[in-house]
């Protein structure tokens, strides 16, 4: 090796100077060279990128713009990389005060990060909602200690705010609109979703547990103090995705999730289903994952407010036609009634700790669809669900 060795840092700083005109290189270089514990300040203004930006293998980094709509990172016309910003294998990362626009795929994806905070971040696809928009706006996956606060997600063709396969989660004071799903907690444990507004999506909030994933079991999810309204947008998710099966007019949908407590929310004018509780079997998708548990259990829906305009469901499916045969209005709460036999005692009664409990909601009305028996004995009787589960605990979080 020749002796003329240059110091990596020295050379890189020199190259940074040369690349001033090239914002892509400038910001990417900053992200690569950032020392652990440093803050990367992004200027005010609108910056266009043709390729994903990425941060990896870093600790205690803050990526900070000058504010939502003040620092705008636009990926319109992006040619490389699927997401806008990608953070992987980090610890205690904060992304705040910026807007990410029009990425080809997901907006901000963070994977394998222990401690990830999104604060005052907007992710949006401009223009009317369309299936060619990216899938997820904010997309932490396989992360620990996730905080999403003061964020806004608009136009995602899957979920605006999506937390997947993660542990220890707070989503609060955020807004999601014009997405297929506003906020989704999927295969995740220990989550609090509160003080959010999810509106004008296809479905406002989803709590899902899906098969074939690395993190199998979700649970301990609390959804409270949210304003979930007017989620009547026609579903524009590309077929094949599970959210493409969500009916327009859905406030909250719980799919195969366990230990979910839903309280003090306002579910207003979600014109098909205020709250749905269904098994994965209800989707009629095949299950080959032997470790997967397809039933929702220990779900508690209490002290919420339900309102809707009169009339048929906005989702024009056979199911809602069938439901209307049982009464003049669509009930606010739908339960598919598919029960795991293992959660029943010897008399066929549900074990207390695994029950679906629905109580004390304003304007409460519900229907058990009896989907397991081909919808033969749909019942609007609330008595079987009149119970209370012990309150769930707030997740213990260790994030900045």
């Amino acid at each position: 090796m020749k002796p003329a060795l240059l110091l990596l840092t020295t050379w890189l700083f020199a190259s940074t100077l040369y690349a001033q005109s090239d914002v892509q290189k400038r910001y990417q270089t900053k992200l690569i060279l950032a020392d652990d514990g440093s803050t990367i300040e992004l200027d005010a203004g609108r910056f266009t990128f043709t390729s994903s930006l990425s941060l990896q293998d870093k600790k205690r980094i803050v990526i900070r713009g000058k504010g939502i709509d003040k620092t705008v990172l636009s990926f319109k016309g992006q040619t490389d990389g699927a997401e806008g910003l990608r953070v992987s294998n980090g610890e205690n990362i904060v992304i705040e005060n910026l807007t990410v626009q029009d990425t080809q795929g997901d907006g901000i994806k963070t994977m394998n990060v222990k401690g990830i905070t999104f604060r005052n971040v907007k992710v949006e696809w401009t223009g009317p909602p369309k299936s060619t928009n990216g899938g997820y706006g904010l997309y932490p996956v396989q992360c620990d200690n996730v905080v999403i606060e003061g964020c806004t997600a608009i136009g995602a063709s899957d979920a605006g705010i999506y937390v997947g396969q993660s542990r220890g989660i707070i989503v609060k004071n955020s807004k999601a609109y014009h997405n297929v799903a506003g906020i989704e907690i999927e295969n995740s444990r220990d989550a609090d979703v509160f003080d959010n507004e999810a509106y004008e999506n296809t479905g406002g909030i989803l709590v899902f547990d899906l098969p074939d994933l690395v993190q199998k079991k979700s649970g301990n999810v609390r959804v409270f103090n949210n304003y979930v309204h007017d989620n009547n947008l026609p579903n524009f998710a590309p077929e094949g995705n599970i959210v493409a099966t969500v009916s327009a007019g859905t406030g909250l949908l719980i799919l195969a999730a366990n230990a979910v407590e839903v309280f003090n929310n306002r579910f207003i004018r979600n014109q098909s289903t205020g709250t749905g509780i269904i098994s994965y079997l209800f989707t009629q998708r095949p299950i080959t994952d032997k470790a997967y548990y397809p039933f929702p259990t220990a779900v508690s829906i209490h002290d919420n407010i339900y309102e809707r305009n009169p009339g048929p469901a906005i989702a024009r499916s056979e199911l809602f036609a069938l439901i209307l045969k049982t009464g003049s209005e669509i009930p606010h709460i739908l339960y598919d009634g598919i029960v795991d036999p293992a959660t029943l005692d010897s008399n066929g009664k549900p074990l207390p700790e695994r029950r679906i409990c629905i109580r004390n909601n304003k304007n409460q009305s519900l229907i058990n669809l009896d989907a397991g028996q081909g919808f033969k004995s749909m019942a609007r009787d609330a008595a079987p669900f009149d119970c209370q589960l012990p309150p769930l605990k707030a997740p213990a979080l260790n994030a900045r």
């Binding site: 240059l6 400038r26 040619t79 795929g105 060619t132 990216g134």
Partner: protein
């Protein structure tokens, strides 16, 4: 005068400290001395050994020259399950280029970049050197780049491409096992094939050559070594074996249970035996519009209804797979994979 001396001493001390604390990285590829003669010819220097893989990663039809440099006097031990465990001090060298005309290699070529994987005491490091327009040397680049490339393809069609050179983070987008930067290609099964070595009259099996020259130890009889088929040579393997080999090297660096695409639940590693994990009648998880409107990753007998084919065909950055390093359709491998799915029951 004394002040200057003190200042000079302090400066020297400071530089020593800084260089001691900071990894020193050559600015120019030529600083390493990997090649002799005209750089564009990529003639390896002593101790730098060329190698090939039976079924390589597709990178927008770029051609690749691969070399390995082991630390002097050291060797690597045989293992038939993973990428070889090369000793610290090893450098893997890969130069990407396009012939001006794929039908006539003698018309010359344009070198684009040379990527290095350097095995340092604290792990593998990736470095990217971008060739200058004069093709006299390549310079270190951390933030990636895009180069317009023109060439005439094997069918005689003139093509143009915005060739993407990865930034250092993107290297780890693929070279990643449980968040540790790792080589992908040089496993025994991929190296088990013949190569024409300079000065030799006939081709020689690479494993045997490595053993003969002291690079590889513990080599069992060649007949007992696993061998990846050549994806486009039917005589080297069954349709299934060739398709699985192609998916393994093109997809499984991410799509394995310890790779960046583990979140999808799709595992395209050559050893995967669970049909759902392999994608057969598996529903997508976070594909978004990448589903192309299809319900399953692979529908046996129906390539046109399989997300896998849709995403390998797409050139849309939001849909296409692999996410990095492919902007053009690889027509030939799609034919292989379509036939593979078509033949499934």
């Amino acid at each position: 005068m004394r002040t200057y001396l003190i200042a000079a001493c302090l400066l020297a001390l400071w530089l020593t400290l800084v260089s001691w604390q900071t990894a020193t990285v050559p600015e120019k590829l030529s600083d390493y001395g990997f090649f002799t003669g005209d750089p564009v010819r990529q003639q390896p220097a002593a101790g730098v050994v060329p190698y090939t893989l039976n079924t390589p990663l597709f990178s927008d039809y770029a051609e690749k020259l691969r070399f390995i440099k082991l630390p002097p006097g050291q060797s690597v031990a045989y293992n038939d399950t993973a990428v070889l465990h090369f000793p610290v001090g090893t450098t893997l060298i890969k130069t990407f280029y396009y012939p001006h005309d794929f039908r006539h290699p003698a018309k010359g070529r344009r070198l684009l970049e040379t990527r290095l994987l350097v095995h340092q005491p604290d792990g593998w490091k990736a470095l990217v050197y971008v060739w200058n327009p004069e093709q006299t040397d390549a310079l270190l680049e951390v933030a990636g780049d895009t180069k317009t490339v023109q060439y005439v393809d094997a069918r005689g069609t003139a093509r143009q491409l915005a060739y993407g050179i990865p930034n250092l983070n993107q290297c780890k987008g693929c070279h990643n096992r449980q968040e540790v930067l790792t080589p992908i290609g040089p496993s025994v099964r991929q190296l088990n094939g013949d190569l024409a070595y300079a000065g030799a009259e006939k081709k020689e099996n690479q494993l045997r050559h490595w053993q003969r020259t002291g690079m590889l130890t513990d080599l069992p009889p060649l007949a007992d070594c696993p061998k990846t088929p050549v994806w486009d040579q039917p005589e080297t393997g069954s349709l299934n074996d060739r398709a699985r080999a192609w998916l393994d090297i093109n997809c499984a660096h991410c799509h394995n249970p310890r790779g960046p695409a583990m979140t999808s639940g799709l595992n395209l590693s050559i050893g995967e035996t669970n049909s759902t994990a392999l994608g057969i009648l598996k529903t997508p998880v976070a594909a978004g519009r990448g589903s192309g409107g299809h319900a399953f990753d692979i529908v046996p007998g129906k390539p046109e209804a399989s997300i896998l084919i849709y995403r390998l065909y797409s050139t849309d950055p939001g849909d296409r797979m692999p996410e990095l390093g492919r902007k053009t359709v690889h027509t030939e491998s799609l034919e292989l994979l379509r036939a593979w799915i078509k033949a499934m029951e």
